[in-house]
């Protein structure tokens, strides 16, 4: 009996230590260049940048390049790669992953947790736009650094508020201030002028003398025009095979 208890206890201990081991186990590096499109030097530079941003913002910013996504779509591959490698910080596994598939020549950005809302669909399109030039010129390191830079901007903006643009505020203040000053001095100028000719004779209208003998309102025709509403920046999300929610978007190159 005692042995049995001891065995159970040992098993339990093993489980706990394993669990601790797994949870404290370092996740794979935030950069994985499976397609080998980066030089050793670029890899080091990008990795240190990704690590710095990830630590500062409490959200993992990950990049993975592959030559094939096997039989998965880029979205499934990116979501699964993020989930099963244990990326993501906090209880909601916040993070963002960029997948570059050199075989299918497709890119995918997958967002998780806080990053789903921080990086909207439009933001993802914007990031791809910014990367496009470097991707077309096969400067993958440059494209990835651009991606990292924008992720930092959007996540930081969502968490800490976007940085105050003092030049913009000053510009608005100067223009609005001038309008106020022109109106105020215009009123003062107006006080000096009291001689104006009158083009109407409303003072001499006999009260109650208006007598309408005919009053007709006839409908003629109508026109209908339509214009497209501006699209709102939203974050569409889906559930991956692990059961977690992800946002994301992709583009071919």
């Amino acid at each position: 009996m005692k042995n049995k208890i001891l065995a159970v206890l040992l098993a339990l201990l093993l489980c706990i230590s394993l669990a601790v081991c797994v949870s404290s186990q370092d996740v794979p590096p935030r950069l994985s260049d499976g397609a080998d499109i980066l030089t050793e030097k670029d890899e080091l530079e990008i990795l240190s940048e990704l690590d710095r941003i990830s630590t500062e913002l409490s959200a993992d910013v990950v990049v993975v390049t592959v030559t094939t996504t096997e039989d998965k779509s880029p979205m499934e591959f990116a979501d699964d790669y993020f989930d099963y490698n244990g990326y993501g910080q906090g209880s909601d596994h916040s993070g963002v992953l960029l997948l570059i598939d050199m075989g299918g020549r497709e890119m995918w950005i997958s967002t998780t947790g806080l990053c789903i809302e921080a990086i909207t669909d439009l933001d993802i399109e914007n990031i791809f736009d910014m990367m496009e030039y470097d991707i077309d010129n096969e400067n993958y390191a440059g494209a990835i650094l651009t991606y990292a830079e924008y992720c930092e901007f959007y996540i930081d903006g969502a968490v800490n508020g976007y940085p105050t643009n003092y030049f913009f505020i000053a510009g608005v203040a100067i223009v609005v201030g001038l309008v106020i000053a022109l109106i105020a001095t215009g009123v003062m100028k107006g006080q000096l002028k009291s001689v104006r000719s009158r083009s109407e004779a409303g003072d001499y209208l006999k009260k109650g003398s208006l007598n309408l003998t005919r009053s007709s309102d006839m409908y003629l025709y109508r026109t209908v025009t339509r214009e497209k509403l501006p699209e709102k920046s939203s974050s569409s999300s889906h559930t991956s095979s692990s059961g977690r929610s992800h946002g994301g978007g992709g583009r071919s190159f």
Binding site: T164, I180, T185, A201, R214, L220, V224, E227
Partner: protein, 360 residues
């Protein structure tokens, strides 16, 4: 049978084919009901031009002995002719401040029908001038301080008063706009209407300045006078005051009265067109009938001054006390206020903007 109709939308010609029930303009593709086109055509054919018919003969002939105590004075500088009784004595021209000389007994011209006697005196006019200077930040300080009103004169100014009934027919194109949206589009529906208003409107005592020596804009600025206080003209009312003889006759003055009556009629009619987003007059005719004109003297206090080589003239309605007269502007003060307010307002907005963005 074919008849051409005017498209209410683009004005193009629509050939009316009685075999088709709904019509479509070949130029702008707008569709119409048959009845609409027929009724619209009828409205269009009712458009006329304005007619101003006056049959006026204001004023009366002087009775013998009535104008015996009146004297004419002519200003040698501006040519203005003024009228006063023997109490006036030597004086200065109320229009240009130069001395005037008596030329003899008053003769000719018509006798006014009515007069509004002075209700306010010279003191009131001087008080009003002081008030006129108050609260005006751009008024040069030296104008206030160095200002010497050279002469304050009570003047009866000749006015032609026009009474008439206006018969008008005004046609408008009006629109009603409805806006709604679904998830992808915003729709704007504009419905067009033909609105017609016909009717009449009465005017009484529309004044037109009958003196070229008096600036028309200055005279229109002291309006309105209250005609119900007017009395039949008696020479005695002129005692102690100047009177100006009309030098614009009633027929020349009618043009100005027509303009003002037409404008007011159009405004009064437009106010009856309600419930639309936009209202645009397309055709307007204002006919005047039952026209009558009277020759009246209205009381005005005229104040003259000079400053910086410029003449400034002020006028006060001798009945209501309304005081008018343009004042000079201190350009330095203007710049000071403009840049001062600009700076302070900009700084305040910048501070508020920064505060909001920090909190947000």
């Amino acid at each position: 049978m074919l008849k051409e109709y005017k498209c209410p939308c683009c004005g193009g010609a629509i050939e009316f084919d009685s075999s088709i029930q709904a019509m479509k303009c070949p130029y702008c593709d707008t569709e119409f009901e048959m009845e609409t086109l027929l009724a619209y055509d009828e409205e269009l054919s009712g458009d006329r031009t304005s007619e101003f018919n006056w049959n006026v003969s204001p004023g009366k002939e002087w009775q013998e002995g009535e104008n015996g105590s009146l004297y004419s004075y002519i200003c040698n500088s501006c040519g203005g002719e003024i009228v006063g009784d023997e109490t006036l004595g030597a004086t200065h021209c109320p229009f240009c401040s130069n001395p005037v000389i008596m030329t003899g007994q008053f003769a000719g011209a018509l006798k006014p029908d009515i007069v509004i006697p002075f209700k306010l005196d010279k003191k009131a006019a001087k008080e009003a001038l002081k008030k006129h200077y108050m609260g005006k930040r751009l008024l040069p300080k030296s104008f206030k301080d160095e200002n010497h009103i050279e002469e304050v004169k009570g003047v009866y100014v000749p006015f032609w008063l026009f009474d008439t009934d206006a018969n008008a027919r005004i046609r408008y194109k009006a629109t009603r706009v409805r806006v709604w949206s679904d998830s992808t589009y915003r729709y704007t529906e504009t419905s067009f209407f033909n609105v017609t208003r016909e009717g009449s409107l009465g005017f009484e005592g529309v004044p037109v300045d009958g003196s070229t020596k008096m600036d028309d804009a200055l005279m229109e600025s002291v309006e309105p006078f209250n005609l119900s206080e007017a009395v039949d003209f008696q020479t005695a009312y002129l005692s102690g005051y100047l009177a100006h003889k009309y030098d614009v006759d009633e027929n020349e003055s009618i043009k100005r009265a027509n303009e003002r009556i037409q404008r007011s009629t159009e405004e009064a009619f437009a106010a009856t067109v309600e419930g639309y987003t936009t209202v645009l007059p397309e055709a307007s005719s204002v006919d005047l009938s039952e026209g009558r004109a009277r020759y009246a003297l209205y009381p005005l206090w005229i104040l003259n001054t000079q400053w910086g080589g410029e003449k400034y003239i002020f006028a006060m309605n001798g009945q209501t006390g309304k005081f008018v007269g343009d004042l000079p502007m201190d350009k330095k003060a203007f710049k000071k206020w403009l840049f001062g307010i600009w700076g302070i307002a900009s700084a305040a907005i910048f501070a508020i903007g920064c505060l909001i963005s920090l909190i947000g």
